[in-house]
């Protein structure tokens, strides 16, 4: 997405003789039509490393910040080679140098040593058009934490510029499978939102499914088939210790934490083999049944106020999304009416949208549905797209798709404009679940 040199030389020539006019013109941006938002031109000057001469920076902080912001699809980075100056301190910033280059936003910064394996990172964010300083920040970090702190810096810049909280420092959980048949190995993995830094939290020769985060980000619920029967576990991430919370006869599936973290909604088939939605109070192990229908009722998802649960049911013939009130299991209402297959709903953080698996002819794709109107917009275009999960800022959806016969993870902005494939990881990858915002 870096703009090419020849174009800018032309621009520079035009601008050289008409400096005053070009500053006025800079405020009249020509928007690219066809409904594609124009990425904001941004310059991130490589941060200085102020350690001893000849030593290397411990981590390329500004490089990762730039990658995060570019991958959001909203920013267009200036190539370093085109930079006229490379300030690292506020007093060195000359807005003319950046306005000439048609840059709207400038980021500068420094990394200083602060003790054995300790560093201080300082950065500044400027609105070039108005010549305003928007944000300045200083943080301390160990060497190990420079990666996550780079993501936090990107989050701060993103939120200052867009008003939307960034999700660069959040995590994703997913299931990875390698091998087939008797040599199959399933792993539950937690990685950074960009796919880097994968860490295995569970490992089994038998299938695992349906990872789900607790609202405080400290636990994961999942389904495991160890011992050839399904069971639901809740595992504490920090310790790796897990509780088996449901191992009833038949299906134990699709666990999801309630917004207050106290309950799981899940699928059980203990009543004569018929899958229905239940709620389990984790403290007292009290089970409440929510649906009572000979159809397959499964894949619950909580509304953010905890008052209702969306779920998949084929009671009308094929899978569609329904909503039931959590109080007494009252008022079951159908929500999706477009298409013959809608399943596996996930609710946006503000509760106004659902992401679903929606079939178009014989292709399974991710769509967003307005639950109050049933209006459906297809966002992805694969054959076998599944398991959508909202980012905690509601701006993106991660999902599983197929690429070259192998399962991979992809994300799409909720307006459908920006597509991104998550850094590929080993094995066949599926069932991504986006973490909540970290609670500090």
């Amino acid at each position: 997405m870096t703009r090419t040199l020849p174009t800018r030389i032309v621009v520079q020539c035009m601008v050289a003789g008409m400096l005053a006019f070009s500053i006025a013109n800079a405020q009249l941006r020509i928007e690219i039509t066809q409904g594609v938002a124009r990425p904001v031109p941004m310059a991130i000057v490589p941060f200085s490393w102020e350690g001893s001469v000849g030593s290397q920076a411990p981590f390329d902080v500004s490089g990762l910040v730039a990658t995060d912001l570019v991958q959001s699809g909203r920013f267009d980075p200036l190539d370093e080679r085109d930079m006229v100056s490379r300030p690292t301190m506020p007093e060195d910033v000359d807005f003319d140098d950046w306005q000439i280059l048609d840059v709207d936003v400038l980021v500068i910064g420094r990394i200083l040593p602060a003790g054995p394996d300790q560093y201080t990172v300082i950065f500044q964010l400027y609105d070039v058009l108005r010549g305003e300083h928007l944000l300045g920040y200083r943080l301390n970090s160990s060497g190990d934490e420079l990666r996550i702190n780079s993501h936090r810096i990107a989050d701060m810049i993103f939120e200052t510029l867009t008003g939307i909280p960034g999700v660069f420092s959040t995590k994703i959980a997913y299931v990875s499978q390698e091998g087939i048949g008797d040599t199959s190995r399933y792993r539950l993995i937690i990685a950074d939102a960009d796919g880097a830094n994968p860490q295995e939290v569970a490992d089994s020769p038998d299938p695992m499914m349906s990872p789900s985060w607790s609202p405080d980000g400290r636990k994961i619920a999942y389904v495991s088939f160890e011992g050839e029967q399904s069971a639901i576990y809740v595992q504490t991430l920090r310790t790796g210790i897990r509780d088996r919370v449901s191992a009833r006869a038949g299906i134990n599936g699709a666990p999801v934490f309630s917004p207050d973290g106290r309950m799981l909604a899940l699928t059980l088939s203990q009543d004569q083999g018929n899958p229905d939605i239940y709620m389990l109070d984790l403290a007292g192990q009290v089970l409440t049944r929510l649906t009572r229908n000979v159809a397959i009722d499964t894949e619950p998802a909580w509304a953010p106020d905890g008052q209702s649960i969306y779920f998949t049911s084929d009671r009308s013939g094929g899978p569609q999304i329904y909503r039931v009130e959590t109080y007494l299991g009252a008022d079951v209402e159908r929500v999706t009416y477009e298409g013959s297959y809608n399943a596996r709903a996930r609710v946006s953080p503000d509760g106004t949208q659902l992401a679903v698996v929606h079939r178009v002819q014989s292709n399974y794709r991710i769509a967003v549905v307005d639950p109050s109107t049933g209006l459906t917009q297809v966002l992805s275009n694969g054959r076998q797209d599944e398991s959508p999960s909202f980012a905690p800022n509601g701006a993106q959806i991660i999902y599983a798709t197929q690429e070259g016969g192998s399962g991979v993870l992809s994300s799409v902005s909720t307006d459908g404009r920006i597509h991104r494939q998550i850094a590929s990881v080993a094995g066949d990858v599926r069932e991504p679940a986006w973490s909540p915002f970290p609670r500090i």
Partner: protein, 184 residues
């Protein structure tokens, strides 16, 4: 003399019971009394009692072992899989005889248990496919119950799309994955 006979009878009983521990229904064949191995002291005399038994081949299945359904079993019991149409869990007529054979077998061998493992093809959502697999396993279960199989003999589990029999992404592969397997 009487005491020796009683001792030998006890040894035979001990051997017979010991032989029954592992397999489900092995009938010890013997032409002579044998002493339990590993017994250094050699309890009991290694001599013939007044009674002997002789095994005859060709009765009660090969080697006198009860039939277990599977690739080596005779007739319909050699098949352990029922297939299903897309998005369906009804038993197709072509599988009626197969399930009748298994139903008969189970009804006649009430100590035998079978696990009905339900599966789905990979299209669509995973947990919904767990539901489809379960529904298929339950359909087979109901047919077997109608044949007089006791419900304690039947266990069901659904693997949804997680344990495919074949790995293609075409309709033929999908058809081979929509199945219930009878696991004895």
């Amino acid at each position: 003399m009487v005491r020796q006979v009683w001792l030998l009878i006890l040894i035979v009983a001990g051997v017979a019971l010991g032989g029954c521990g592992g397999d489900s229904a092995t009938v010890p064949n013997s032409t002579a009394v044998s002493v339990p191995s590993g017994d250094a002291a050699g309890v009991g005399a290694n001599q013939n009692s007044g009674t002997s038994t002789t095994g005859i081949a060709g009765v009660g299945g090969p080697d006198g072992v009860r039939i277990v359904p599977g690739p080596d079993a005779p007739g319909l019991l050699s098949s352990l899989v029922v297939y299903f149409d897309f998005d369906q869990s009804d038993i197709q007529a072509e599988f009626n005889e197969l399930l009748a054979a298994h139903g008969d077998y189970l009804a006649s061998n009430s100590d035998v248990r079978v696990r009905l493992e339900g599966h789905a093809d990979e299209t669509g959502s995973r947990e919904y496919n767990i539901g489809l697999g379960e529904r298929r396993a339950q359909a087979v279960r109901r047919v077997l119950l109608l044949q007089g199989v006791a419900s304690e003999q039947l266990n069901t589990v659904s693997f949804g799309e997680e344990r495919p029999a074949v790995f293609g992404s075409d309709d033929d592969s999908y058809a081979l994955n929509r199945r219930v397997e009878l696991a004895y």
